[in-house]
């Protein structure tokens, strides 16, 4: 019996040594060690190489200003989107040859294999509905619908060969602003504020202003934050009434009481944070604080009553109403106050010719008149304030319009209008390190398709990010297990229009 116990003890001791001795360690772990050594070795080869460290994010202060990849020329962006797609053929893309074909049947070669949103059968060609002239040292062709803008032609750099693969408003707008023609991706303003933060801790970094009576067809997703933290979505401000809805204290609540309640909420949140250490709670506290500061600063910056009369005269703005001109003036004020990205959407450019409002010889001209003076004023005002060189102004729609007159369902429309056209349209950029008086890209003789200098939404996005100091391939956000970027797998910076 005693011997048995001895044996058992001996055995237990041996078992124990197996756990600790070097001999057994090596015997048991050899395969693992080999694999580790191999892993280390391959790691030394820099397999996944140059690991770009993720953009560190301070959740307690998501708008803290941060450095871009390199020195960017632009500090802010004002993006003027003409929702509905303005006709390049009546604004910037002068096609005298098209005039000669006016009223003739569209050649079959232009229709074969093509699909249009509304054109059916054989449409007629439609010449330019306005006269053009050349302006400035740059010799840009600008139509008579834009007499003011023509006077600052030399500030602009045109992109005349912009193309898209979407011919419906919603998807095309999403592609232009989020890089993908479907819902769910962050918009370019969200990417910019995610990358750069905001210079003014009292104001949102990304502000959206709409005019024209409707939201863009793609809805609020064109200024959404997608999978980026939601603080980066565009804050929609209004030029009449309360600039930001639900920001003002309700009647009977004074600012001290508001402060006290926020303090109490913050305290409770702080306690929860000490228990759970969830950074989202810090983020929530920061958002309460920011909302409190915005209650004071947003109404102030959004108030255009205090602007002098000659400024209103310059922009054609009128306090108290909702208009594109007011929004443009606000954009200048916001940029002056350090807002990073101001996005304007002006609805009403869908010139099909189905009614007077969408007729190239009525509604379209009225639209041109509402933007001509304000945009010209914006460029000059930014310039005299020393802000144009650090503010990138981008103008464009979501696609172009056909050189043919629209014949909805095969019947000629009652007014002169053009159908959606993804194959060629014009955009322009100014300020923010863009070449003065530049032009890139050409369309064929009738403006049907781009023949050189073709650029896409991704190229434009890459260029905007480049001007802000970002390599668009490196501004990424990890989501669902992989890094995402605005330009997906595409995008080339358009060096031709960069000064």
């Amino acid at each position: 019996m005693a011997k048995n116990i001895d044996q058992l003890q001996q055995e237990a001791l041996q078992k124990a040594t197996q756990e600790v001795t070097r001999r057994y360690f090596f015997k048991d772990c050899l395969t693992g060690m080999g694999a580790m050594a191999l892993g280390n070795f391959l790691g030394g080869c820099n397999w996944l190489g140059g690991k770009e460290e993720a953009f560190p994010l301070d959740t307690s202060n998501p708008f803290m200003p941060r450095s871009p990849h390199f020195l960017g020329k632009a500090k802010s962006v004002i993006y003027l989107h003409m929702a509905g797609a303005p006709s390049q053929l009546e604004m910037f893309d002068y096609k005298p040859e098209l005039q000669k074909l006016d009223g003739l049947d569209c050649p079959q070669s232009l229709l074969e294999g093509k699909k249009f949103a509304f054109i059916r059968g054989v449409p007629k060609m439609l010449g330019p509905q306005v006269a053009f002239n050349q302006y400035g040292e740059s010799g840009h062709w600008i139509s008579d619908h834009l007499p003011h803008l023509a006077s600052v032609a030399d500030e602009l750099s045109f992109l005349k060969g912009v193309q898209t693969d979407q011919f419906n408003h919603g998807p095309a707008q999403l592609l232009m602003h989020t890089g993908v023609p479907r819902l769910g991706r962050p918009s370019i303003g969200a990417w910019a504020t995610y990358g750069l933060g905001s210079e003014n801790s009292n104001l949102p970094g990304f502000v959206v202003l709409t005019s024209g009576g409707h939201f863009p067809d793609a809805g609020k997703s064109v200024w959404g934050s997608g999978f980026l933290p939601s603080v980066y979505q565009g804050v929609q401000c209004r030029s009449e009434g309360d600039p930001v809805l639900f920001l003002q204290d309700p009647q009977g609540m004074d600012r001290d009481l508001r402060r006290a309640s926020i303090d109490a909420i913050n305290q409770a949140n702080q306690q929860t944070y000490t228990t759970f250490k969830d950074p989202e709670i810090v983020s929530r506290i920061a958002q309460y604080e920011m909302a409190y500061r915005m209650q004071m600063s947003v109404p102030e910056v959004m108030d255009i009553h205090n602007e002098p009369a000659y400024i209103h005269e310059m922009y054609g703005s009128k306090p108290g109403i909702a208009s594109f001109a007011n929004n443009v003036l606000l954009a200048r004020k916001l940029v002056e106050k350090g807002v990073r990205f101001v996005q304007l959407f002006d609805w009403g450019w869908d010139s099909h010719g189905t009614d007077p409002n969408t007729a190239l010889d009525y509604g379209f001209i009225n639209k041109c008149r509402t933007i001509d003076k304000p945009i010209t004023a914006l460029l000059l005002d930014l310039k005299q304030r020393g802000l144009l060189e650090e503010t990138l102004v981008v103008w464009g729609g979501e696609f172009g319009r056909t050189p043919m007159q629209e014949n909805r369902d095969g019947k000629l429309n009652p007014f002169k209008g053009r159908d959606h056209h993804p194959e060629a349209f014009t955009m322009w950029m100014a300020g923010g390190g863009i070449k003065r008086g530049g032009s890139f890209g050409e369309t064929d003789e009738i403006g049907y398709s781009a023949i050189s200098g073709k650029v896409t939404a991704h190229d434009i996005q890459a260029t905007i990010l480049h001007q802000l100091g970002f390599d668009h391939e490196k501004l990424t956000y990890n989501f669902q297990g992989r890094p995402f970027r605005l330009t997906d797998v595409n995008g080339t910076v358009i060096n031709e229009i960069i000064s």
Binding site: S67, N200, K373, G386, N495
Partner: protein, 465 residues
């Protein structure tokens, strides 16, 4: 019967032979490990023989490899590693056969793992020798060779050296991996003027002025399916613009010292050239050449906590941009903090700030300041004069202040000043010629632009008038 170079023939068999030991030995290892499963125990009889065949093939590979190494030039370091690792594989494989023969049970597993590791590492270096450094990783888009090439910043392509700034970077990126110091395939090096002109085993590759006599160009534009096409299949090819640049350079006499503007250019070449112009912002124009120590981190942090926008002007730079746009007043505490980072401040914005002498003094202490915005303030001519010591200043924004031409006159040390914004000051349009005299090359903007109101601006067109 032609002479057969037997050595070369044996050597050239190496790339074929090496795959045999790799495959056979791997299979032996697989068999060894699977045989442990009861269902596959029957395969164990085949293991020793497989190891033996693998070992013999490894020996043959070693011999042919050694022969090959004597007939061609490879980077010595990698070659050495590959050689010894290859020999080790052969030795260990024989060893494993002996282990099996002698039934040394405890050694079987460790030796097989060792063999596997050696096989992979030796194979990897073999691959590096034939395909070049980074072949494996280039598919991941992070080829170390390409990553280290920093695109040179060319502010004005017409002033750039055609060989140094345009041609060489292309060769560097697309050709050096096989034709430079590391490797000289075909005995050809392309990494200097001498080597380029000397040519390779098959003769001269570059004949200045004679495009079609220059093998260098012919190989590039050759049908990519041809065996002689360069860079070889699978390697990064030259872009159309790049090959056209090489065309232009060779046909214009392949000068190694000429500037772009000295060589005749067609419209097309001119356009192409601009695409080689730096796509990087001209940093030396904005960033001081001299380095500066990092600013004290706690000062930056405190300013950030107060709500001041403060950040490095670009990633990795110690120079700072500071923006007080959220404030109307800068208190003593902030000024003290600003003082502690004064050397690093490159851009400063203080729009609408209440200006007193303490503020002016703090700004004036920022010796490297390039851009200063102090618009919408009560700054006086006398206070402005203090900034005369900010000799690096390039941009000064004093719109909406009481500054007069007299104040500007006192800034005679600001030789670098290029942009001056004077909208809504006491400075008049008629002062501009004088300002141009004080600051040569300056853009002085008095502003006060108007956009006249046309009748049509507010007219709304309606059908039927």
């Amino acid at each position: 019967m032609p002479d057969i170079d037997w050595l070369l023939l044996i050597g050239h068999f190496h790339p074929l032979l090496v795959h045999l030991p790799v495959g056979i030995l791997m299979w032996a290892i697989v068999l060894q490990w699977v045989s442990k499963l009861p269902a596959f125990s029957s395969v164990s009889g085949a293991i020793p023989a497989t190891y033996l065949v693998g070992a013999l093939m490894a020996i043959l590979s070693c011999i042919s490899g050694w022969v090959l190494s004597t007939t061609a030039t490879y980077p010595a370091d990698t070659l050495n590693l590959h050689k010894w690792l290859g020999i080790a594989v052969a030795v260990i494989a024989i060893n494993q056969y002996i282990v099996y023969h002698q039934q040394w049970q405890r050694l079987k597993a460790p030796v097989s793992v060792l063999l596997l590791c050696l096989l992979m590492i030796a194979g990897h270096f073999g691959g590096t020798l034939t395909h070049g450094e980074g072949y494996l990783t280039q598919s991941l888009g992070i080829s170390p060779a390409a990553a280290t090439i920093v695109k040179k910043n060319i502010p004005n392509i017409q002033e750039a050296l055609v060989y140094e700034d345009v041609v060489k970077p292309v060769l560097e990126q697309k050709c050096y991996s096989c034709h430079a110091s590391l490797k000289q395939k075909g005995g050809l090096r392309l990494d200097s003027q001498e080597w380029l002109l000397k040519g390779g085993e098959d003769g001269v590759v570059l004949r200045p002025g004679n495009l079609m006599g220059s093998e260098l160009y012919k190989r590039i534009i050759m049908d990519p399916l041809e065996e002689k096409h360069m860079p070889p299949k699978g390697k990064l090819q030259l872009t159309d613009a790049e090959s056209r640049m090489i065309n232009w350079w060779i046909s214009s006499g392949a000068s190694f010292h000429a500037k772009a503007k000295d060589i005749a250019q067609t419209e097309q070449i001119k356009k192409l050239l601009t695409s080689f112009q730096g796509d990087v912002v001209v940093e030396e124009d904005v960033l001081p050449a001299e380095a500066v120590d990092p600013a004290p981190a706690n000062a930056i942090q405190k300013l950030q906590q107060l709500g001041v926008a403060i950040y490095p002007v670009s990633k990795g730079s110690n120079y700072l941009a500071v923006n007080f746009v959220a404030f109307t007043e800068v208190d003593k505490n902030m000024l003290a903090l600003l003082g502690s980072i004064s050397k690093q401040v490159l851009w400063l914005k203080m729009p609408g700030i209440k200006v007193d002498d303490a503020v002016i003094k703090a700004i004036a202490s920022c010796v490297h300041l390039r851009r200063l915005s102090i618009e919408h303030t009560g700054i006086t001519d006398t206070q402005l004069a203090v900034f005369n010591q900010l000799t690096s200043l390039r941009y000064l924004n004093i719109i909406d202040t009481k500054i007069s031409i007299g104040g500007l006159q006192k800034l005679d040390q600001l030789k670098q000043l290029r942009q001056l914004y004077l909208y809504h000051t006491m400075v008049l349009q008629s002062d501009v010629p004088k300002i141009r005299q004080y600051f040569p090359g300056i853009t002085a903007d008095i502003g006060d632009y108007r956009v006249e109101t046309l009748v049509t601006d507010t007219q709304v067109l309606r059908v039927g008038g």
